[in-house]
């Protein structure tokens, strides 16, 4: 079990990034519903694990933070999905509870 991806907020971020080349902080904040501080913290953890690349730049005078999944992050997410499908094979619609 990949603890970094298994956390719901980070799983949402990784799942969102899995279908795109890159997305900005504004989009991730909109789709996850996380506060800016929370999102930053989760992105930092994903970056530390080497799952995402974060690029900070400016568009005019507005800061722009671009986030993209690294090949490692992409493959970890695929493995996690495979694991989840395996676990939920008998009853696919059941929720997975995070062990504390």
């Amino acid at each position: 079990l990949n603890r970094i991806i298994h956390e719901p907020a980070r799983l949402t971020i990784v799942a969102l990034l899995s279908t795109v080349k890159e997305a900005d902080f504004l989009y991730l904040s909109r789709e996850t519903g996380l506060t800016k501080g929370n999102l930053s913290a989760h992105l930092s953890k994903l970056e530390e694990a080497g799952y995402v690349d974060i690029e900070k730049k400016f568009r005019g005078k507005i800061p722009l933070t671009l986030v993209r999944l690294t090949p490692q992050g992409r493959s970890e997410f695929q493995s996690y999905r495979k694991w989840m499908k395996g676990v939920l094979a008998p009853s696919r619609r059941e929720a997975v509870h995070i062990p504390t």
Binding site: L11, L16, T19, A23, R30, L64, L88, R92, T100
Partner: protein, 213 residues
């Protein structure tokens, strides 16, 4: 996402969200509709004009410029309207398989439309002309229905139904061959622009996100 649990279905839903976001503002439909209207309407106008090399060259040049212009306009509209409101997203490059399927679809349609005037065997020509409109309607409808069902976008499924209805109506009206296909494309294009404009006006009513600080 509820508390500390998340199901596989939730993850599947999340992965679909980006594709839905890409379609949410209606700009894709406006661009596709404009392209259909431009190609269909333009060809109908071209067919009404006398067959001369000058017109042929002008039509070809206009088609290329129009298609490039639409692409440029779409990118600018995304940058000005969508990204400041909902955030910037860059989609993954299409796979070789999906590129191939789009090319094959257009090649079949171009082959049918383009070959009709040159088919010498009268029976075959009549048969191709007879079936061109329903065949094209079926291809357009399935091309729209697939992402419509996949992304659960009722608007796009409705457009697919419209394709079938227009195809049936044109067939019943006796419109055949290239003229029928181009009329069908113009009608679908017009409807896509209208439905895309409704989606865009809804999207513009949503409050924009606070920019980064």
């Amino acid at each position: 996402m509820e508390g500390a649990k998340m199901s596989l279905a939730d993850v599947d839903q999340i992965t679909l969200r980006t594709s839905r976001y890409w379609m949410e503002d209606g700009l894709v439909e406006i661009m596709m509709g404009a392209l259909f209207l431009f190609l269909g309407g333009g060809t109908l106008v071209r067919m009404a004009l006398p067959r001369e090399l000058t017109w042929d060259l002008l039509a070809s040049a206009l088609t290329i410029v129009g298609a490039l212009g639409l692409r440029w306009g779409f990118q600018k509209a995304k940058e000005k309207i969508t990204f400041p409101r909902g955030g910037y997203v860059s989609l993954l490059e299409p796979t070789r398989k999906s590129r191939l399927s789009v090319r094959v679809t257009f090649a079949i349609l171009a082959l049918i439309s383009g070959s009709l005037p040159f088919v010498r065997f009268n029976d075959l020509r009549v048969q191709l002309a007879e079936t061109a409109v329903p065949f094209a309607a079926l291809i357009f409808a399935s091309t729209l229905a697939w992402p419509g069902f996949q992304l659960r976008l009722r608007r796009v499924v409705f457009e697919a139904l419209l394709c079938l209805m227009f195809g049936a109506a044109l067939y019943a009206a006796g419109l055949k061959g290239s003229k029928g296909v181009m009329t069908l494309m113009s009608m679908i294009g017009f409807c896509m622009i209208c439905l895309g404009a409704v989606a865009l006006s809804r999207f513009l009513k949503t409050p924009p996100q606070q920019p980064e600080e």
